[in-house]
């Protein structure tokens, strides 16, 4: 006789949606961490490596996408969740936007063999370092989700801890805004010496890197909704 379980319990208990969100964030973080290597290869004018890292980013983006899709398929609107379902879906969408941005940057470097102006290099390094830092904080914040489920999104200690990380993210984001401003100023100063189309693309790339931290702040805002009473 085939063993068929008639247990309503196994249908009642769904896989936790927080696990895929955390997993997605880990992949996203890896994706963002590939950016400095990509830029480094560009500085060194190693075309092969640039293509290799772009490919790596594209691959990570695909991985993240498949996690996102499985996650969405497992979120019917009959679920009883500790937080609002729409907020969870938006959180995932926000995270997914991060890998999209990385992919877009990588793509530009594959179809456009760009040269990095020496004056811009220190600013870009600083910007990337800041971006890694803020997304590292965002990852730390997402890693706290299972602890938050354990305490049921209420209770002082865990919430305070997460709130601290959230305000850290906001602070870093603000910091990055000033770096971006300085990077743009540096680019503006040498604008006349560069090819106009190159300049246009550099502004675009600086903007895209800046979007990463903006998006990270959105994730922090989204998470703070879970903590509000």
């Amino acid at each position: 006789m085939p063993i068929r379980t008639t247990s309503p319990l196994s249908r009642l208990l769904r896989k936790s949606p927080f696990k895929p969100i955390q997993e997605h964030m880990r992949v996203t973080f890896n994706c963002i961490c590939t950016l400095p290597q990509l830029f480094e290869a560009l500085f060194e004018q190693e075309r092969e490596k640039v293509l290799e890292y772009s490919e790596q980013i594209r691959q990570l983006e695909t991985d993240a996408d498949s996690i996102k899709n499985t996650f969405r398929l497992n979120m019917p609107n009959t679920l009883l969740l500790p937080v609002d379902r729409k907020d969870l879906l938006s959180l995932m969408a926000d995270q997914d936007r991060l890998t999209d941005i990385c992919e877009e940057i990588g793509k530009i470097f594959t179809y456009r063999d760009m040269e990095v102006p020496q004056e811009l290099k220190p600013f870009l390094d600083e910007l990337l370092e800041g971006t890694i830092e803020v997304s590292g904080e965002a990852r730390k914040m997402i890693e706290e989700l299972d602890e938050l489920v354990e305490v049921g999104f209420v209770g002082g200690r865990e919430l305070e801890k997460v709130s601290n990380i959230i305000s850290g993210v906001r602070k870093s984001e603000h910091n990055i805004d000033t770096i971006i401003k300085r990077t743009r100023e540096a680019l503006f100063a040498i604008e006349a010496e560069l090819k106009p189309v190159d300049v246009m693309f550099w502004y675009k790339i600086i903007g895209l890197v800046g979007n990463i931290s903006d998006q990270t702040e959105n994730i922090a805002d989204r998470l703070s909704l879970f903590l509000s009473k």
Binding site: T5, T6, P8, L9, L12, R14, S16, V151, G152
Partner: protein, 421 residues
């Protein structure tokens, strides 16, 4: 009358076979839900689950299974209308047993979530309506049973909600969760032993000739509570912080404390299941034995013989060791999302509710109460995701099971009547 004297032994043998079949089915399928949570949480192995189930199903059936058996046996049907034809009631009870067992078999091969309790109640009503007449159904009793199917999961949910809140307050949301977990674990384990034994012993166990005053019951329950608590303390005392596991998940060590605690709730669940669900199989059997051995007395004034309770417990154990352990393994594998701290609360709440219902003589569904208790944990924002569609499925399964059991019972009743005359 002559039919009973002529075929008495055959009828009793049939009742025993059908009763065993039904209890076998309960052990093979239904028990897995009650114990699967502990298996799924990794608190006990499948072998331990089998050992626990054998001991505590039996204890539950023998110590606390009497009242529900009595309800199934004589609480649903009023047989005064057929006092002159006691064989009708015997056929009816046999038909109900067979119908419920048969329906369960069909449902479980199809994978439908049906309840043994609902099947047997539906079957009894079905027989009574066609065999005696609609007036023979004690509708007020039936409505209180049906009401208990709605109320009991809600009570289970409310208790587990409160338990989850208390673990949060006392253990999880504190500066040193592990220390507090170890401090309060014996208290929670005490609660398991105390509540279950208090409800069971309250006002004594008349069918075992044990009379206890309220005070004596309390004393006994406190003693059992302390005993379980001492055993529990032995398990949790040496649990230490594990930094590498805690880095991944800060509450890993705390959950380790709850894991052995689920051993006790697993015992409680098996006990509760034995106290309530065994009656679905042996209630009609007890009725047949009583009518035949009293020479056709439909009011069944005789006490429930102990051997019937033992037979029922034995049938469940048989079902478990032949097939049930596989089902338990399958269920356990699917419900790993319930962590020990949540599983403990849900199981304690469910076991308490079921034993309370057993003591009141209300046949309820252990599985549905466990679903209610898990929902209580969910309402306390304690679980990642629960699919509420299950609630709808359960309601649909009621609406199908009651008439399905009834129609099959009618069919088997007329068949038996045709065979024996």
């Amino acid at each position: 009358m002559e039919i009973l004297t002529a075929y008495g032994t055959i009828l009793i043998t049939l009742a025993i076979i059908f009763g065993l079949y039904m209890t076998w089915g309960i052990g093979a399928n239904d028990l897995a839900n009650a114990m699967g949570t502990s298996v799924g949480a990794g608190a006990i192995t499948i072998k331990q689950a089998i050992c626990i189930a054998i001991i505590f199903e039996f204890l539950g059936a023998v110590l606390a299974g009497g009242q529900v058996t009595s309800t199934i046996r004589k609480g649903i049907i009023d047989p005064t209308g057929i006092a002159g034809n006691p064989e009708i009631l015997v056929y009816g009870m046999l038909a109900s047993l067979l119908a419920a067992a048969f329906w369960l078999m069909i449902a479980s091969t199809k994978g439908w979530p049906v309840s043994t309790t609902h099947s047997i109640i539906g079957a009894l009503i079905g027989f009574a309506v066609v065999g005696i007449g609609p007036d023979a159904v004690k509708w007020e009793k039936v409505s209180s049973v049906v009401a208990s199917w709605v109320v009991s999961p809600a009570i289970g949910g409310a208790i587990s909600f409160l338990l989850v809140m208390s673990t949060r307050k006392l253990i999880l949301d504190t500066d040193n969760p592990l220390k507090n977990a170890k401090r309060y674990a014996p208290l929670y384990i005490f609660l398991v032993g105390f509540i279950i034994s208090l409800v069971t012993l309250f006002k004594g166990l008349s069918h075992l000739n044990i009379e206890l005053s309220a005070g004596q019951s309390f004393t006994c329950a406190i003693f059992v509570g302390f005993l379980t608590s001492a055993i529990g303390w032995f398990f949790v005392r040496n649990i230490q912080e594990n930094p590498s596991e805690n880095r991944e998940f800060h509450y890993a060590s705390v959950e380790k404390v709850f894991s052995p605690m689920m051993l006790f709730t697993a015992c409680a669940m098996a006990f509760a299941h034995g106290s309530n669900d065994v009656a679905n199989g042996i209630g009609p059997l007890a009725a047949v034995v009583s009518i035949v051995s009293s020479g056709g007395e439909v009011m069944q004034t005789s006490a429930l013989p102990l051997w019937i309770l033992i037979l029922g417990g034995g049938g469940i154990v048989l079902g478990l060791i032949t097939l049930g352990y596989k089902v338990m393994l399958t269920v356990g594998k699917r419900i790993t999302e319930l962590t020990p701290s949540r599983g403990f609360c849900a199981e304690l709440a469910a076991a308490t509710t079921v034993v309370l219902a057993s003591k009141t003589g209300l046949p309820v569904s252990t599985t549905h109460i466990l679903v209610g208790s898990v929902l209580g944990v969910g309402l306390a924002r304690g679980i990642g995701a629960l699919d509420l569609r299950v609630v709808g499925n359960i309601i649909v399964s009621w609406l199908i099971t009651l008439p399905a059991g009834a129609i099959m019972a009618m069919f088997f009743f007329f068949t038996l009547k045709g065979i024996f005359g």
